[in-house]
């Protein structure tokens, strides 16, 4: 429902386009209504919480003149003064030099396949409240009690959000998309702080989330930590669980910008000029794709861009998004381009899509299956504080977190210390020797910003653990 005190989003779209009608050459308006709830917990107790409703209205005004087309973008929160907002966007369009990402606005004839999004435009925004978290909240007191009795400490976070974006343009496009999104994360630490473990899941509605199941998993992993084993820095055979793979692959996907790559700035740049599209990145036939219709990971089937940035253009608002294979059969297949950039580069546009799936066709098995096939190695839980060190190789540094488990002869035999790693996800794809079946995965580091991924566990024979971290 629309927040009390605010006019319906559809009325705002109409008002903006009316206000811009006589003064902007073209106009796009985005109204984003969001409803969010969350609760944090730590030290076996709930802590902070939130319950909010938000609205932002973004107006993109386009002005044509002899030199080209300029765009001005203004955004306001709440119950906006539509005329003031439109004039602010027009003022910035008038003060801006011609844009280099200009394309004709998307017209109604280009969105005929988006029937559900067109129909959604007439409906009110989605909303959420604490009742979505009722099973989590009712389960928490038991979780806290068991933790106290079990001599460990639970912390975590549950959040749910429904965001609805309404898009209208002076070219006649009217689209809307409602995105439900939630996550539950649980952390268990031994009372003496010597061991910790974590589990996190992404979900659209919490119907598929069981706090007891996560808790059970954590108890099992804490038991693995009863035997502490010290391991030095070095290269190890490592089993990366889907949650760790998600953070690495999302980093890789973020880097796949066409223009930066053509400018020579990314790991996908070809030394001496051009891109590495077509190059084999992995001897295994991995596919990395994004698809708004991916079952269980559905996301917006059209582009909604509140500003032009890199390979995203405000001129492309409403552009239909479909399945995009970034890597296919182990080969780099596509890079992101807005329409103007794609036209300049003689390729197809590829917009940002809100999910990512990595799979090795035919791969089966779980993390546990891979552990059973491991003679000597490390099983990780998740990765943390991942940052780019060298863009030329996409070398990333970061740390293992919340459980590094020593595997010997097909079984976990104890928990090791944490490590700092220095690795490139591009190089990893070239060295992976085994993958399992994909499962929905919530990245420890990036899951809150990029909720929808499906990733397999991966075996890497020589993962570079650069130094030991004393953190536990």
């Amino acid at each position: 429902m629309t927040s009390p005190g605010l006019p319906p989003a559809q009325d705002v779209v109409d008002s903006v386009l009316t206000a811009a009608g006589g003064s902007s050459d073209h106009c796009v308006v985005l109204v984003e209504d969001t409803s969010e709830v969350e609760v944090r917990f730590a030290n076996n107790s709930t802590t902070t919480n939130g319950n909010r409703r938000n609205r932002t209205v973004t107006v993109i005004s386009m002005r044509e003149n002899a030199a080209g087309t300029s765009a001005g973008v203004s955004r306001r929160g709440g119950d906006v003064d539509v005329v003031e907002l439109v004039r602010a966007a027009e003022r910035d369009a008038g003060e801006s030099p011609p844009a280099d990402d200009v394309s004709p606005l998307i017209g109604p004839e280009e969105v005929t396949a988006l029937a559900a999004s067109r129909d959604r435009f007439d409906a009110p925004p989605g909303s959420t409240d604490l009742s979505v978290l009722s099973e989590v909240l009712s389960g928490l007191s038991g979780t806290f009690s068991r933790a106290r009795a079990g001599d460990y400490v639970v912390a975590g976070y549950a959040e749910h959000r429904r965001g609805t974006v309404y898009l209208g343009s002076s070219s006649g496009v009217r689209l809307a998309h409602e995105q439900p999104e939630g996550a539950l994360q649980l952390l268990a630490r031994s009372a003496d702080g010597s061991a910790s473990t974590w589990a996190g899941v992404g979900t659209p509605d919490f119907a598929d989330v069981s706090i007891e199941a996560l808790e059970e998993r954590l108890r099992g992993r804490l038991a693995w930590s009863d035997r502490q084993l010290e391991r030095p820095a070095g290269r190890y055979e490592v089993i990366l669980p889907p949650e760790a793979v998600a953070d690495l692959m999302v980093n890789l996907a973020f880097e796949a910008g066409g223009r930066d790559t053509e400018d020579g700035k990314t790991v996908f740049s070809r030394p001496g000029g051009g891109t590495r599209v077509g190059d084999t990145l992995s001897p295994l036939p991995f596919d990395l794709r994004s698809d708004p219709a991916e079952p269980g990971l559905e996301c917006s089937p059209f582009l909604a861009a509140a500003s032009s940035w890199g390979d995203t253009s405000v001129f492309d608002n409403g552009m239909p998004l479909g399945r995009t294979d970034w890597i296919a059969g182990g080969r780099l297949e596509r890079l992101r381009y807005h329409r103007a950039g794609a036209s300049r580069s003689g390729t197809r546009p590829a917009g940002f899509i809100g999910n990512a799936v990595l799979e090795l066709p035919g791969a089966t098995g779980t993390v546990e299956d891979m552990v059973a096939r491991t003679e000597r190695g490390l099983l990780l839980t998740c990765l943390w504080y991942i940052r780019e060190v060298d863009p030329a190789t996409l070398l990333l540094t970061g740390l293992t977190r919340d459980g590094v488990y020593v595997v010997e002869d097909g079984a976990v035999v104890g928990a090791a210390n944490n490590f700092r790693f220095n690795e490139s996800p591009v190089d990893l794809l070239a060295r992976v020797t085994e993958a399992g079946a994909g499962t929905r995965a919530f990245g420890r580091e990036l899951g809150e910003d990029f909720n929808r991924t499906r990733m397999p566990p991966l075996r890497v024979p020589d993962f570079n653990m650069s130094s030991v971290s004393q953190a536990s």
Binding site: T47, G78, A89, D92, L399, Q470, A471
Partner: protein
């Protein structure tokens, strides 16, 4: 505003809340980005909303909205109370806030001459285009990105204790980065090391930083860097410039001395701290030359305020004295839990729609007493080492032990003299080892106030601006990695 405030605080009193903070904020941000001298994107964003936090029956609730009328404000209190009671039933411990008296009516503003969000977009684009053009004209430079983020944050705050505050915080962060392609060495970048500042647009016109000088030096520095030899991994003595050291302070001291972390309240996300509460007054954090303060009072500091979002005045306090851990950063709930008595003013929320949490003060390493050594004096004391300028990549573990940083410029030091750049450098250490090996801090003349707009913490994630002042320092025997070797190439 007054009607909404009265409606909210009146409803809170009627419902029996023991503490209520009413906050209305307007955060006006502008981001302008140029690529090779052409405008790539610009956005003008104003966030306006109301957030209300209540404590009732030992539970805490927060609710927020972008609708700003009196009716909506009163309804927010009801939602916040409902949240407090619902969450408390899930197993919350009793919430206490450290007492804070009324500070009456407070008005405060950042010092600035020109409100950066009032500067026309055309002027912003013209300045960044001029800067970009100067670099693109150099043979050594192939590409340039230039961007500026400007923020003006207006807050109205009122609480049940009787404090009422109106404050404005202004900040800008201009960044220019040049890139050079090299047939043999791939590519390298060189970025300005000018820090973000709690200043107005005058900062970009030379008030507080020598932009002309830095831009003029970049092409030559970049050209040297892209042709520089790759560093040989090993142990080096480091002279660390404040333009690099601020980030090491931020990660290894700033976050480690947040008491909410040390007590486990960030365990699920940002992490905890090796500097546990039982170590207060005991932990040898670093060498005896180490004196670190926290403050929300530094002129032009990004975390500087008149009053925080729990009604606590900005203040200054010790964190590390003579190398020993002597204090923590606190908000009112953590001050109460820890028994330390009173908050030192470190509550902040990045949006009217977010609940305030304990956030970082300006955490600063103090320079040497008296005149102290210059950076050149510190370099002169190194036989075989590196002089590191500017920040780049950063990472630290969830208890703030193990860190790795890179930088913008790395100069070899041989026999007390700089002898050219090297590349592919990262330094890696454990926090207490690094600070324990700090042999000397520079004098006041070497001191620079660095910082960032985007310190992340909390769930949902919040970003906070924060400054860190420090002098140049000399640290002995730090592990240097070759990042090309680390990638196996």
């Amino acid at each position: 505003m007054a009607a909404a405030r009265d409606a909210a605080l009146g409803e809170a009193q009627r419902l029996g809340c023991t503490s209520t903070e009413f906050r209305v904020e307007r955060i006006h941000s502008q981001h302008v980005r140029l690529r090779d001298g052409d405008l790539e994107g610009a956005a003008d964003d104003t966030e306006l909303g109301v957030g209300i936090r209540v404590v009732i029956d030992g539970g805490m609730g927060f609710a927020a909205t972008v609708a700003a009328g009196a009716d909506e404000a009163a309804e927010l209190v009801v939602r916040a109370v409902d949240a407090a009671r619902t969450i408390a039933r899930a197993g919350g411990g009793r919430v206490e806030l450290a007492p804070e008296p009324s500070h009456g009516s407070v008005t405060w503003s950042s010092p600035y001459t020109v409100d950066p969000v009032d500067v026309p977009l055309a002027d912003k684009v013209a300045l960044l285009a001029d800067w970009s053009g100067r670099l693109l004209a150099a043979d050594q430079v192939d590409h340039v990105t230039a961007h500026v983020l400007a923020v003006t944050e207006d807050t109205y705050y009122a609480d049940l204790a009787g404090t009422e505050a109106t404050q404005r915080r202004v900040r800008v962060h201009p960044v220019v980065e040049a890139l050079a392609l090299d047939a043999d060495n791939g590519f390298e970048t060189m970025r300005t090391v000018a820090p973000p500042a709690g200043r107005g647009w005058e900062y970009l016109q030379g008030d507080g930083w020598d932009w002309d000088g830095e831009l003029a030096s970049l092409p030559g520095l970049l050209g040297d860097k892209v042709r520089a030899p790759s560093v040989e991994a090993g142990q080096y003595d480091l002279v660390v410039d404040p333009t690099n050291l601020w980030l090491t302070i931020h990660e290894s001291i700033g976050h480690a001395t947040e008491l909410d972390r040390a007590l486990g309240y960030e365990a699920a996300y940002a992490g905890t701290s090796f500097a546990t509460f039982d170590q207060l007054g005991v932990l040898q954090y670093g060498s005896p030359v180490m004196h670190v303060t926290g403050d929300r009072t530094t002129p032009n500091g990004l975390a500087t305020v008149g009053i925080d979002q729990e009604g606590v005045p900005g203040q200054s306090f010790d964190l590390i004295r003579d190398g020993i851990l002597t204090g923590y950063q606190l908000d009112r709930s953590i001050a109460a839990i820890s028994g330390l008595g009173a908050s030192n003013g470190c509550a902040f929320a990045d949006s009217p729609l977010h609940v305030p949490i304990q956030r970082m003060a300006n955490v600063c390493l103090q320079p040497a007493d008296g005149e102290g050594p210059s950076t050149e004096d510190l370099i002169a004391g190194v036989d075989h080492g590196l002089y590191i300028i500017g920040d780049k990549s950063w990472s630290i573990d969830m208890q703030r032990y193990n860190f790795q940083f890179t930088g913008q410029r790395f100069f070899r030091i041989e026999h007390g003299r700089l002898v050219g750049q090297v590349r592919d450098v990262a330094y890696q250490a454990t926090t207490t080892d690094f600070w324990g090996a700090m042999e000397a801090v520079g004098g006041r003349s070497t001191y620079v106030l660095g910082g960032a707009f985007n310190c992340g913490k909390g769930q949902p994630g919040q970003v906070a601006p924060v400054s860190h002042g420090c002098p140049s320092v000399l640290v002995r025997g730090v592990r240097i990695l070759n990042t090309r070797n680390e990638s196996g190439r």
